[in-house]
Amino acid sequence: MTSERQTLPEEHYLKAGWDLKSWLLTTDHKRIGLLYLVSITFMFAIGSLYAGIVRFNLLVPDGSQMSAEAYNKAFTGHGVVMVFFFLIPSIPATLGNFLIPLMIGAKDLAFPRINLLSWYIYVVGAALTMWALVTGGLDTGWTFYTPYSTALSESNVELAAIGIFIAGFSSILTGLNFIVTIHKMRAPGLSWFRLPLFVWAHYATSIIQVLGTPVIAITILLVALERIFHFGFFDPNRGGDPILFQHLFWFYSHPAVYIMILPSMGVISEIVTCFSRKRIFGYSFIAMSSLAIAALGFLVWAHHLFVSGMSVYSAMVFSALSFLVAVPSAIKTFNWTATLYRGSVKWDTPMIYVFCFIGLFLIGGLTGLFLASLGVDVHLTDTYFVVAHFHYIMVGGAIMGYLGGLHFWWPKITGRKYVEAWGKVSSLLVFVGFNLTFFPQFVLGYLGMPRRYHAYPEEFQILNVLSTAGATILGFGYLFPFSYLTHSVFRGEPAGDNPWGAKGLEWTTQSPPTTHNFDLIPVVTEEPYDYASPPKEAARV
């Protein structure tokens, strides 16, 4: 890595105008990525606030901190905001939008205006849902189970349902844009098996986004129709089957958890190779397991319904398929660990987030096996074991990957370096806070504490207090990156084109890149992650 002082380039995409019009009407994928970065960070803050309220209430067993009504609205708000407005768009909309054209040597995504439209749809959906949550709240849980959501809840179900329905199309349009871009706009010489694994992961994610999201869109629409016009889709008094709603809801919502984790897996593949300066172990196996996850992810949804009274025989089929879908994730984890073997591992912040990801995603993935096995699931489903399981995957996996990616490509996005020491401190704090929050919940789950309980028996209090303590450390830990990364935008030391000495087309351009990315479309000749040969400079006019 060059050691002499770097200087910021004169011309780059951030300099292409600073007025409102240049930001709100931009069709530059990099600027839209930043627009998304700001909006989902805001939504993450709101979701964390709700989480804080939930954990605060669970400090005492008798639920005397707040009314049951307020608690139900708090955990629903936490679920809705975090799932639909932070985790689904998190990496694809920010890092994906920013990096995919750069990584495949294109000037922009295939449909720049649809990309801007997808951000506006996200904002409208978020505004509507926030309006519903603020002016009365939603108390159905993010799962909207009927007949409670359609017949018995007096909260803003219709408004929130329409908000989420709209936000779904933002995810569909992002997926559509990525699929067409990756197929049609790769640089010459960039065959499928030379693509970075980040692009593979986003290709698999986009397939799920495009083919899964419409089913929840129609399901949420049916809930709204049933409340507004008294249609009878899920009304048990008229023969409607509430379990059918669960089928249609989870047909999307399980693949949705793969929308949340696959992009993080792509980020991990990029960072682990760069910081062990070594070729990825088993490139084609990782690429293919991304696609396998996308395909198998659609076959397993009914493991959420094992105790709902579905047929015993089809429960057996779904249990077997749920075990099958764990195999590709296991393959990836083994391959990342093997990449470190005989490498040259540098312990920078992105790499620490990779260690956190592999360590914690492992627990998240393996605890899924308990829930896939029918006998144990009867006892564990709808308890805090499930809450701990999916938080280990979403917070321990997806958010660690998101933060790692943010730190890894921060020099490319802003052209400046963040302070390395702060990075290490905050990742350690996040790791400790996270484990203290969610590991006790595994034990709570096996002890039988059900989910979504405003008050609980006394014997669970100690573990809940531990969990709340962990939550405060985690919340505090997340404030760190927010502050020193923002600080680095203004005061950070210029980073130069390739501060980590990484491979990949995005590192051959200047940092931050020009508005049209490449003066000359690069021709790709080397294999991906070929760290043996020196990093290449892009031909500049």
Binding site: P101, A106, K107, D108, L109, A110, F111, P112, I114, I172, L176, N177, I179, V180, T181, H183, K184, M185, V210, L211, G212, T213, P214, V215, A217, I218, T219, L222, L225, E226, F229, H230, F231, G232, F233, D235, N237, R238, G239, G240, D241, L244, L248, F251, H516, I521
Partner: protein, 236 residues
């Protein structure tokens, strides 16, 4: 369509956007984008068709009673109208590909006309199911699911009346969503007719006409499945 791209080069076409290297790449990308959008629509309607399939296996009698109540003649006529509009749409795309500008406008206006006929027939069909539901007094013949649903019109009592409400929820849901897709399609068709009247399209570049054609044919396919599933199960 977009400002003249910065590049020089003789064969550069005004409609080529800056981030594509050739018109052919832009056309292929747009066409793939439309097909992926249609794949998403298949799943969007798919959720409804899956609900229909499940409830039809659960309540065959109520479904055939409900379907028997729908007049298949209207459905039959509407199907022919929609297939006709598919033909005129395809001829429109054909004329755009062969550069006959006036024919394109003519065929697209014909498509809009046939689409409006379809929606008009739909309006009246809905009318005689919804009108009795308003006003006080007996809601005989009201088929909108809810308290005022009149199941005696279908000679059904007890839980079967509830199952008939599910049939009509599906009927209004599926045909309503289909009609909504046509209501969105018609203004876009008008826009395309206006632009082709302004001479924007040529044999080299008529992608928007193709894309609207794909969308319109998809809407026709949805109706091709709706007609037998909703109108024809009760008639034997």
């Amino acid at each position: 369509m977009s400002e003249l791209a910065a590049h020089g080069g003789a064969e550069h076409h005004p409609a080529l956007q800056h981030h594509f290297t050739s018109l052919e790449q832009q056309r292929a990308a747009s066409s793939l984008g439309m097909w992926v959008f249609i794949a998403q629509e298949v799943l969007f309607f798919g959720g409804l068709f899956a609900t229909y399939t499940v409830y039809r296996t659960q309540y065959p009698d109520a479904f055939s009673a409900g379907s028997h109540h729908l007049s298949w003649k209207i459905g039959f006529f509407n199907t022919l109208v929609l297939i006709g509009s598919s033909l005129t749409m395809a001829m429109g795309v054909y004329s755009a590909a062969t550069g006959k500008k006036n024919r394109v406008v003519g065929f697209i206006l014909a498509t809009i006309l046939l689409g409006s006929v379809f929606l008009g027939v739909k309006y009246f069909e809905y009318g005689d199911k919804i009108r009795p539901c308003f006003g006080d007094g007996s809601h005989a013949g009201c088929l909108v699911p809810g308290e005022r649903f009149d199941a005696s019109a279908l000679h059904l009592a007890g839980p079967a009346a509830g199952h008939a409400q599910i049939f009509f929820s599906l009927y209004f849901g599926m045909t309503g969503l289909h009609a909504l897709h046509m209501i969105i399609g018609i203004p876009i068709l008008l826009l395309i007719a206006y632009w082709s009247w302004r001479g924007r399209y040529s044999p080299e570049y008529h992608t928007p006409v193709e894309l609207v054609g794909l969308y319109w044919h998809f809407v026709d396919i949805v109706w091709i499945f709706l007609f037998p599933l909703l109108y024809l199960i009760g008639s034997h």
